[in-house]
């Protein structure tokens, strides 16, 4: 970028603190994709509607296209790659494979983060509550049915794990 990098910020991305010099109008999405080494954060609409660029900012889901990079200064950002160690799958990812919750895969990173956040707060959510929870993440391939199958399976696994503790 030739624009001035007038602001120095520190963002912890998937547990790794990193410093950046950014212009005031740079979005968090652009920062993550271009300088942050996070191509897994996808651009879908750039207007905050599709949810494709969802990341967790200090644990809360945001559309990264609507957040300025400078607003993330001092924050933790979690992308889909922060859900499991490299080369491993967590149970939610495994359930998405098992139930074919992914087709083209473009909405998947954002979808997984929204679901992760929601089930942490609502571990017993039923299917209709889960349907509402993912309403901000558009998917054009699956019709959502298999996504909800995957999410319910994950909820059950997760609950089983908690009960077993």
């Amino acid at each position: 970028m030739t624009a001035t990098r007038g602001h120095f910020i520190s963002v912890t991305i998937n547990g790794r603190p990193t410093d950046f010099g950014v212009s005031a109008n740079l979005s968090l999405l652009e920062l993550l994709r271009n300088d942050g080494g996070c191509p897994e954060v996808k651009l879908g609409c750039g207007e905050g509607v599709c949810g494709t660029c969802t990341v967790l900012l200090d644990g809360e889901p945001v559309n990264a296209c609507l957040v300025f990079a400078v607003q993330a200064d001092g924050c933790d950002v979690t992308t889909v790659r922060g859900l499991a160690a490299d080369g491993e799958l967590n149970d939610l990812q495994d359930m998405f494979i098992e139930h074919a919750g992914s087709q083209c895969g473009f909405c998947t990173p954002g979808m997984l983060l929204t679901v992760t956040w929601y089930l942490e707060r609502h571990p017993d959510a039923d299917r209709e509550e889960l349907r509402r929870a993912i309403a901000g993440n558009l998917c054009r391939c699956t019709g959502y049915t298999k996504i909800l199958d995957a999410v319910e399976a994950y909820r059950d696994l997760r609950r089983g794990d908690v009960d077993g503790d």
Partner: protein, 804 residues
């Protein structure tokens, strides 16, 4: 093993493949055994996931915009924001002066400024579409310049400084305006781009004999594909001076068109297709490719281009709005005796694939119903609006709304049930279509209808105090390209020395598992598991060409090519294996990365051993083969001939609740049933059915690109409403296996057909609930409420139906 050995299973599969040209007079061949599903190592029953699934859930799959190069330039397209004008001049001096700008190209800079393809396959005269408009603007959003700069900021700044001087020009923005006497022409030669006529029998005489004539006009909207991945890619000049693009595209064969635009030899342009974040036909025509190629060629630098969502909505091609006039003659018992159908499709400002779409719409307009006195006419009309082209269903889906609404009207007029009228008229194998050709393969529409209605069970209860109704609609949609294209696809398979398998095929992967299905098919024949298979796809220079992924053709085409090449390789290696094992070739069993002797578990060799031994004996462990689709001829003058190799039949059924105060329609239950012939991977089949149904429901209920005077109003995701999770119920998808198709193992294509029945099924349900028939899609609350307030049935003369 059971008495039925694996080898003999494969032989029966092959004999089925060879018997695909079964004449209609012979019964369909017996069902081949289903391919054995692979097991996951953890013991779960679903198939071993192909790598693409792992990469998608971990976010590591490199899509078109996830690649970069050191020193890459940023490309943008500059678009006209008037729908119709003459260009008096373009001044790019200020844009070129912006620091960091490396190229500003206009029409004069494009060596051969034409996107040319004889798209119809039937010799329709070409209408030239410029890469960059230089003389006239024909639609809002038409590209006039493209820019490459060191930064996105500089590129966008320069785009704002491109100064185009426009002179007002008269335009036509609707089909009616375009066809009016003395209307301005979008292109020389008038606004009718192409008309197809087909007829059989004597329609006028048959119509005169009919007891009733049911006549109605139906309208469908202009809609956007709205895949989540925007049009994107990177381009660079590779070694040997090859202009190389890695883009999100359904068709790598566009490399040839790009070479012609740049006036380069075909061998100097290479297109690599990344895995797509959805395509649905919207990446079948070129999107970023010509602009990227021109900027790379001009700057000799790598260039990246991503279209903004708003540009994509504004100016990338849409689905044709159709206006369909149906006149159907029936006897008192509900038998259709005459059909007279006229279809007008809005092609927008340039042809693209309109000739094929209107062809598909016309020849499929009678649906799964027999009629020996039928006539159809379909016409593509130019207007000064965004061009329309391919979109899942491709003309054959719009007409489902026409023919299924007609069937409901017939039932209503005659006081028969909707099922009974359909039962009486369903086509069967051997019946003659409007094009004079017989239907070759079995037709399972009836079975799909019964299953769909049975699956819905008792009528749903209202959840919000509205009126509940049930509807359904059947369809018969083609898969595979029109037969006069003499379609073909090639594939290459080789075994590495460690026994792993490599498949090369030029197929592009839309996200529907096109690559994975090739691994499954080859694995079924050679016994190599998916985790030991690599599939290289979508490279116009390095993979054998298969033709693009469209027309629900890849399973049929590259699937069959894979069957053919895998079989050839197995036959080539069989003598070596038999020699190693001391058995007859007919005793060999290819399974789980081993070649063994059937019935003798102790005797086997690994694929690695076989591969190395074969190579040592100079039997090279690889093969290349080409599959040729069934070819046919069609005469556009007479409208008679062969159209499509085969069809996929289906029925969707739904319960809806209509809120009488707001006009909102809530879908309570939805079932989609299709005869898939043979499901290669049932889970992916269900996924295709559900996804197409969701897209069809959006088409039916909420999606419409609204234009006014050629200016598009729906240019944001915020006002172009595709279904969210809250707009859809669970979609029950059922893949029946009633009649074998022409795909590998008897499969039928499923990518497109399930998008057709949604609109008419929901319109039927709304009518059942409130006695009002919606004749126009989408059935948004405003339209439903207006119809309720008008207080009457809009379609049928006489008193409105009072209740469900």
């Amino acid at each position: 093993m059971a008495t039925d050995t694996h080898t003999s299973k494969l032989i029966s599969l092959l004999s089925d493949a060879e018997a695909r040209d079964t004449p209609v007079t012979t019964p369909a061949p017996p069902a081949p055994p289903r391919p054995a599903p692979a097991r996951r190592p953890n013991g779960r029953t679903s198939p071993v996931p192909h790598r693409d699934f792992l990469e998608k859930v971990t976010g590591t799959l490199p899509y078109a915009d996830d690649w970069s190069f050191a020193g890459i330039l940023h490309g943008v397209v500059v678009r006209a924001r008037v729908p119709c004008a003459r260009i008096a001049g373009i001044d790019v001096s200020a844009a070129r002066a912006v620091p960091g700008v490396r190229a500003v190209l206009t029409a004069a800079d494009i060596p051969h400024n034409a996107i040319s393809e004889e798209a119809s396959g039937l010799g329709i005269e070409q209408t030239v579409q410029p890469v960059l408009a230089g003389e006239r603007i024909r639609y809002d959003g038409e590209p006039v310049a493209c820019i490459a700069a060191e930064s996105m900021v500089a590129a966008v700044e320069a785009a704002g400084l491109v100064d185009v001087e426009y002179e007002d020009d008269a335009g036509v923005f609707t089909i009616d305006e375009a066809l009016a006497e003395g209307a301005p022409s979008v292109h020389p030669g008038g606004n009718t781009y192409v008309t197809y006529n087909s007829s059989i029998g004597d329609v006028d005489a048959a119509m005169a004999r009919a007891d009733h004539i049911i006549e109605e006009t139906y309208q469908t909207p202009r809609v956007d594909h709205a895949y989540l991945e925007p049009e994107s890619g990177v381009g660079w000049i590779d070694s040997d001076g090859v202009v190389t693009l890695r883009v999100s595209t359904q068709v790598i064969e566009h490399a040839r068109a790009l070479a012609e635009i740049l006036e380069l030899p075909h061998s100097r342009v290479r297109v690599i297709a990344a895995y797509m974040g959805g395509g649905f036909g919207g990446k079948e025509d070129m999107t970023v490719e010509p602009y990227l190629a021109a900027l790379v060629w001009k700057t000799r630098r790598p260039v990246r281009m991503v279209w903004e969502r708003q540009d994509s909505l504004l100016a990338r091609q849409k689905r044709h709005p159709f206006r369909m006039h149906y006149r159907t003659g029936v006897t008192n018992d509900g038998t259709i005796v005459a059909q007279d159908i006229k279809i007008l499709g809005d092609a927008g400002a340039y042809p693209l694939l309109s000739s094929r779409v209107l062809f598909a719409g016309g020849v499929n307009s009678t649906g799964p119903y027999k009629c020996l006195d039928a006539r159809m006419q379909s016409t593509a009309v130019f207007t000064n609006t965004v061009p329309t082209s391919a979109f899942r269903g491709f003309g054959a889906m719009q007409v489902v709304f026409g023919y299924e609404s007609q069937m409901d009207l017939i039932a209503e007029r005659l006081g028969l049930s909707r099922e009974a009228v359909r039962e009486r008229n369903f086509v069967a194998q051997g019946d003659i279509r409007v094009t004079g050709e017989p239907i070759e393969m079995g037709c399972g529409t009836r079975e799909c209808m019964h299953r769909a209605l049975e699956e819905l069970g008792e009528l749903s209860q209202p959840v919000n105090g509205g009126k509940v109704g049930r509807g359904f609609a059947c369809s018969m949609q083609p898969y595979g390209r029109s037969m006069f294209f003499t379609d073909r696809a090639s594939a290459w398979i080789g075994l590495e020395q460690d026994g792993t398998m490599v498949i090369r095929a030029g197929v592009t992967d839309l996200g529907a598992g096109q690559a994975a299905s090739l691994a499954n098919i080859a694995g079924e024949i050679l016994g190599v598991t998916v985790d030991r298979t690599s599939v290289h796809i979508g490279d116009s220079h390095l993979t054998p060409l298969t033709g693009g992924t469209f027309a629900t053709r890849q399973l049929y085409m590259s699937g069959n090519a894979t069957v053919k090449v895998a079989t050839a390789l197995r036959d080539k290696l069989a003598p070596v294996a038999a020699d190693l094992l001391g058995c007859e070739e007919s005793e060999l069993e290819w399974i789980n990365n081993l070649v063994g002797v059937t019935g003798d578990r102790a005797r086997s060799v690994t694929m690695a051993e076989l591969s190395r031994t074969a190579e040592n004996r100079d039997v090279m462990p690889y093969c290349h083969e080409t599959f040729h689709a069934q070819a046919g001829e069609f005469n556009p003058e007479t409208g008679q001939g062969q159209t499509y190799p085969d069809y996929t039949h289906g029925c969707h059924a739904a319960d809806v609740e209509v809120d009488m105060r707001t006009g909102e329609v809530r879908i309570l239950k939805y079932v989609a049933v299709h005869d898939v012939g043979r499901a290669i991977d049932l889970q992916r089949v269900e996924g295709q059915i559900q996804g197409a149904a969701a897209q069809g429901i959006g088409y039916a209920m909420s999606e419409e690109m609204e234009t006014e005077g050629g200016v598009l109003h729906s240019n944001l995701f915020a006002n172009y409403l595709i279904p969210t999770s809250l707009d859809l119920p669970d979609l029950k998808a059922i893949g029946l296996e009633v009649h074998l198709g022409k795909g590998p193992f008897g499969a039928r294509g499923i990518g497109e057909p399930p998008i057709g029945p949604c609109g008419p099924a929901l319109a039927s349900a709304i009518h059942d609930a409130i006695g009002i028939r919606m004749l126009r899609l989408p059935m948004v609350p405003e339209r439903v409420l207006a119809a309720i307030r008008a207080g009457r049935d809009h379609s049928v003369p006489g008193p409105a139906k009072q209740d469900a």
